[in-house]
């Protein structure tokens, strides 16, 4: 599949790769340069592959609060919330952003790879009065991220970018939306619009000073922040508590799918926790599925890994048994048949200077 910006990516020198069934740019000029552009200036990402679900009707809030871990009832209209869709075993189906457009009116931004599964899950649990629509094909989206994102916003919309994180505004009601959200750890916004308007929006963002950035930089930026990637760091066999996402789980809500499992986990000991690992030795880049050893014994594998462009050392995440999750715990990561020392560190890896 191709996003509405496919031709623009080719014209901008995008190196196209397959991602979740989509032909997406992994980079334009280079991952390191694009990463730096986002940390120091501003980058633009095509995120049109992500899904757009609309939920509305009397009872929409209650319905979603029965399906998602975070609390939408408590979320003021005009705000966005990171939240998680669980299966009955408390495992992660998807992590997503919910925009509260009205009291009973929502836009959900879901992962590209999970659009069919999420939609099927929501339809399976449909209730009378609540209207659910998967309109992913109609919409494109851009993520504009970096310390200069506010200046890009002003050039695009001729008014200041909302200072508050997680604000949602409808640029054109029902058609075009911005939210001060992102996946990089930088200030910025995400802009959802009709597919036909994507090319002009992309060009306008670049003209306003944003550097085109691909999925490669998106991955290194999010990993430096320990933001999980579904399919790598999150899975149907891991709960959000194991993934360290308890902040986005409201167990005080009367009920949501998976809640019982999470309550039971909370009352006992988590079997594993997703830990941040800093590589101490000079080593090749750590990648996903590299073996992790403690005291010479294999205990797990990395779920994500990279040589951090901002920090200059290797970083990774892995699910470790609780006995090995303390900050300072030494582990070894095997890279190409050799083991390199690494240490459990506090999340995130990267903090703004």
């Amino acid at each position: 599949m191709r996003t509405p910006l496919f031709d623009q990516h080719l014209a901008t020198g995008g190196r196209m790769v397959e991602f979740a069934g989509w032909e997406m740019p992994v980079q334009y000029t280079g991952i390191l340069q694009e990463h730096k552009a986002v940390r120091e200036a501003c980058g633009a990402f095509d995120i049109s592959h992500m899904g757009e679900f609309f939920v509305s009707g009397t009872g929409a809030t209650a319905w979603l609060d029965g399906l998602l871990t975070n609390n939408l009832t408590a979320l003021p209209v005009g705000h966005a919330q990171y939240t998680i869709l669980l299966n009955e075993r408390g495992g992660v189906i998807d992590d997503l952003i919910a925009y509260r457009l009205g009291e009973e009116n929502y836009l959900l931004i879901v992962n590209a790879a999970k659009i069919p599964e999420d939609a099927a899950w929501l339809r399976k649990h449909e209730v009378p009065g609540v209207h659910f629509e998967d309109r992913s094909a109609e919409f494109a989206a851009l993520a504009i991220q970096g310390p200069q994102a506010a200046s890009v916003f002003e050039k695009l919309f001729h008014r200041p970018m909302p200072a508050e994180r997680n604000r949602v505004e409808e640029i054109q009601p029902g058609r075009s939306f911005i939210a001060t959200t992102g996946y990089t750890g930088e200030a910025g916004f995400e802009w959802v619009m009709p597919a036909a308007e994507a090319a002009a929006a992309w060009q306008a963002a670049l003209d306003a000073g944003a550097t085109p950035c691909g999925l490669g930089a998106r991955d290194t930026l999010r990993l430096e922040m320990c933001y999980p990637l579904n399919g790598s760091d999150l899975s149907p066999d891991r709960t959000p508590l194991e993934a360290g996402l308890g902040f986005f789980v409201d167990l005080k809500k009367p009920d949501f799918i998976g809640r019982d499992v999470l309550l039971a986990q909370k009352a006992s000991i988590l079997p594993h926790k997703l830990c941040a690992l800093r590589v101490l030795d000079k080593a090749p880049p750590v990648r996903p599925h590299y073996k992790v050893y403690v005291n010479g014994e294999p205990v797990t594998e990395t779920t994500s890994g990279a040589l951090s462009p901002s920090l200059g050392y290797g970083i990774a995440m892995a699910y470790l048994p609780p006995a090995y999750c303390d900050i300072g715990q030494m582990v070894d990561i095997e890279v190409r048949y050799r083991r390199f020392r690494a240490q459990v560190v506090k999340k995130p890896f990267y903090k703004k200077p």
Partner: protein, 126 residues
């Protein structure tokens, strides 16, 4: 695309500069452009003996690891430590400061199996 005339090329995108029975080996401009930002390089140990086509070194970009093959057989007699400290030399100067290792060529006949600049240019469609 830079493809110096004075080098011989392996199909796997290594170049060799021959001086008597010594060869200097690196990767081509085309290879570094395909690999993108190189963030790790490990030249072979001095004294390592390799056959033509053996894995001699490893370079890794942000997204992928890539084996570097010996274009001819012989013994490694020098390694470029500068690329360990600054792997980006492979991107910025692949035919110069980004060389990877030097080899004492065991059998000069193997050089005939490598490509000249014109044949390599044809291979990569440059």
């Amino acid at each position: 695309m830079n493809i110096p005339e004075n080098l011989r090329y392996a199909t796997s995108h290594e170049w060799i500069l021959v001086d008597g029975n010594t060869g200097t080996v690196g990767i081509t401009d085309h290879a570094q452009a395909e690999l993108t930002d190189i963030v790790f390089a490990e030249p072979p140990a001095i004294g390592k003996s390799v056959k033509a086509g053996d894995v001699a070194a490893v370079v890794e970009s942000v997204k992928a690891a890539s084996d570097i093959y010996a274009p001819v057989g012989g013994e490694v007699i020098e390694r470029n430590e500068a690329i360990e400290a600054d792997p980006s030399l492979l991107n910025t100067d692949p035919f110069g400061a980004g060389w990877i290792f030097k080899i004492r060529i065991a059998d000069a006949v193997e050089l005939a199996a490598l490509k000249d600049a014109a044949a390599y240019r044809e291979q990569i469609g440059a």
